[in-house]
């Protein structure tokens, strides 16, 4: 099937979107009928702090080309969760470098419920990155 | 620049009960008027509201084009009675002419 090939060549982008901010933000983009690349897959999360370091590495290992964490940023309903996650992410970046993965494949950003333009920006930028980099190749895999 | 003179409405009072005050400038009267003439009658009504007496006198002739057919009064959404206002203006102008 052609569409399958298309999707593969596009490289898949995983988006972790918080239930209170970024996920409704993505809905708001939908309500505005603003188009964006279809190779994006949004997971609704309560707080991205849930994901341990290995989760990200596993994703790249499975063939995900890019990950955007769309958090609530300072608006996070769980006081301290954002900070906890940000420090964890630093460790993920270190691990990515060890695996010779371009760290541009993982981005942390804050998206609120009405951040339509920011959402589109993030998605388009990541799409550019994954088009440029191609599928992830891990050193140890 | 035209200067506002709201006292004019009172000057009009001896000539008509309907002194253009109820009008909210929607323009229905102009659109329904069979004369199809530049902003008639709303223009005159607006001139009363802002007290542009000189404008009224300058353009007084226009008043006598009015057929007094009553369509504007029938259609006016605010019952401002534009037909009667025009009639009142005619009386005002005639009185003015005669005085001068």
């Amino acid at each position: 099937m052609t569409s399958l090939a298309d999707n593969q060549s596009e490289g898949k982008i995983l988006i972790l979107a918080t239930e209170t901010c970024a996920y409704p933000g993505a809905d708001s983009v939908g309500q505005a009928h603003s188009s964006y690349p279809a190779n994006t897959f949004i997971l609704r999360v309560r707080a991205p702090a849930l994901f341990p370091e290995h989760f990200y590495l596993d994703c790249f290992n499975k063939g995900i080309s890019g990950i955007i964490i769309m958090s609530c940023g300072e608006e996070c309903p769980y006081d301290g969760a954002y900070k906890a996650m940000a420090t964890r992410l630093d460790r993920v970046y270190v691990m990515m470098r060890q695996q010779e993965l371009d760290i541009r494949r993982l981005r942390l950003t804050a998206i609120c419920t009405v951040c339509n333009r920011a959402f589109l920006n993030e998605v388009n930028q990541m799409n550019k990155v994954v088009q440029e980099l191609g599928p992830p190749q891990m050193a140890q895999s | 620049m035209a200067l506002l003179n709201p006292n004019f409405a009172e000057e009009m009072e001896p000539f008509t009960e309907d002194t253009a005050l109820a009008c909210f400038n929607c323009g229905t009267c102009t659109a329904i008027c069979p004369l199809v003439y530049e902003h008639f009658p709303r223009k005159m009504i607006r001139y009363i509201q802002i007290g542009a007496k000189d404008r009224i006198l300058e353009n007084a002739q226009e008043l006598w084009r009015c057929l007094h057919c009553g369509l504007c009064t029938l259609t006016c959404p605010r019952e401002a009675n534009p037909g009667e206002i025009i009639l009142g203006l005619k009386r005002f102008v005639v009185a003015n002419w005669r005085r001068s």
């Binding site: - | 323009g27 659109a31 605010r78």
Partner: protein, 438 residues
């Protein structure tokens, strides 16, 4: 849900539109038993018939259906549809309503909503639910998300061929069904009787509904609805895609020559909304809104209005005087011009009259509650307790008490629910106090 068994309730809600549903839900959630009496064959009122709603552009069905469903499934709420309230009086401690259930000619307890009758009925009738633009059958379920899903027979048009009776798997068709009278007793009542559109026949200058390409705003809602009559926007006279569409604001409001001096409050916003939806479905069409004042006063409304201007919707300041038809089905409008020459004539392919609201119910002769000079139900303490009527224990919410948008209606319904709940609490207290004195 359908057969009349229980007739004693805490609260009687008259009208099953969004106001009635919200009031009933807010009372039911407090464990009061509620009866909703609806004149139509389905609950949902005007809102379920809309396409999308401003300023969020949510689809109206998506917002209304869950409320309809939760009311219908609520343990404390009983629905009575296709019912007329003949009288509503207070007798001592009780509000008593005499109600007539009109015959559907279908047994509601037996009907399973399978629509076999509808599919087999040979008689096509104009579908009022689709603005009269398409046809339905002489027996049908009003629309796909109607509640209850029970067929209704249109006896005016039925030719008694008997096909529906033959195909009905549950033998629910009953040609001999009679109107059923019953009495509902309650401690309190909430009037949520809603509105109707200003009748177009009241304004000669707008063609009295006789010009085919002059339609009303509710018909446009149907044209825009995802499950509308044509699935796209076409003008009624010849099925042409309109290239230029005009909205006539205040077509049934702020016009003393029609006896309606008040502002209907929602027409500006729904016209802006429809214009935005139209520019989505007909990207090349010119859309013009002729208005006096744009009343975008609610939360997010002004921003919505400014967006529509940025999208290229044209706004012309001036009330409409006259509408007439040209030989190609086009519509001529006369209004004042923005500047320069006075009366101007503009031609459009399709004209939408932004009709206002008139009360959906007249209490005269039915209920001793007073109507105000605008004919809507009178409220006696509009500042502090806006849902109080002049009848004890009877409250009002939504457009029954004057034009209102959906947001304000839903909020007011909550307020009416707390007033009714307070009334019943106070009564319970005094009853207990009296009992303890004895």
């Amino acid at each position: 849900m359908n057969s009349i068994q229980k007739t004693d309730f805490d609260v009687l809600v008259v009208g099953g539109g969004i106001a009635g549903l919200q009031t009933a839900l807010d009372l039911g959630d407090q464990d009061y038993s509620v009866a909703i009496v609806e004149k139509d064959a389905t609950i949902g009122g005007k809102m379920i018939r809309l396409s999308k709603v401003f300023p969020t552009l949510d689809c109206a069905s998506c917002i209304t259906t869950p409320k309809m469903a939760s009311a219908a499934h609520h343990d404390n709420i009983t629905l009575f549809t296709y019912c007329d309230v003949n009288s509503l009086d207070r007798m001592g401690q009780t509000v008593t309503a005499n109600v007539t259930q009109r015959p559907r000619y279908v047994d509601p307890d037996k009907c399973i909503g399978c629509r076999q009758c509808e599919y087999h009925c040979p008689v096509y009738v104009s579908d009022a639910e689709q603005g009269g633009f398409s046809a339905t059958k002489a027996i049908s379920i009003p629309f796909s998300n109607a509640i209850p899903q029970v067929a209704v027979m249109d006896v005016e048009n039925c030719m008694l061929c008997g096909k529906c009776e033959k195909v009905c798997p549950t033998h629910a068709i009953d040609y001999f069904q009679e109107p059923e009278q019953f009495v509902i007793k309650a401690k309190s009542a909430v009037l949520t009787t809603g509105f109707e559109l200003t009748p177009v026949s009241n304004k000669h200058q707008y063609g009295r509904g006789e010009i085919p390409n002059v339609i009303d705003s509710m018909q446009m809602e149907r044209l825009l609805a995802p499950h509308g009559p044509y699935n796209r926007v076409l003008r009624p006279s010849d099925g042409m895609e309109p290239d230029s569409i005009a909205y006539v604001q205040c077509a049934g409001s702020r016009d003393k020559s029609m006896g309606i001096s008040y502002c209907s409050r929602v027409c500006c916003m729904y016209a802006v909304k429809q214009a935005m939806l139209l520019s989505g479905s007909l990207p090349l069409a010119d859309i013009t809104i002729y208005y006096m004042d744009i009343r975008a006063f609610g939360k997010g409304y002004e921003q919505f209005y400014q967006n529509s201007r940025a999208m290229g919707i044209e706004f012309i300041n001036g009330k409409f005087a006259k509408i007439s038809e040209d030989e190609n089905g086009g519509v001529y409008l006369r209004s004042k011009s923005q500047n320069g020459e006075g009366g101007v004539t503009a031609s459009h392919d399709l004209v939408v009259l932004s009709l206002g609201m008139v009360p959906g119910w007249n209490p005269e002769g039915i209920c001793p509650v007073s109507a105000d000079s605008d004919h809507f139900v009178k409220t006696i303490r509009p500042a502090l307790s806006p849902t109080l009527t002049d009848m004890e224990g009877v409250f009002v919410a939504g457009t029954a008490a004057g034009p209102k948008d959906i947001v304000d209606t839903i909020t007011e319904s909550g307020a009416a629910a707390i007033e009714a709940a307070k009334y019943m609490t106070a009564r319970e207290h005094s009853r207990k106090a009296a009992a303890s004195h004895r």
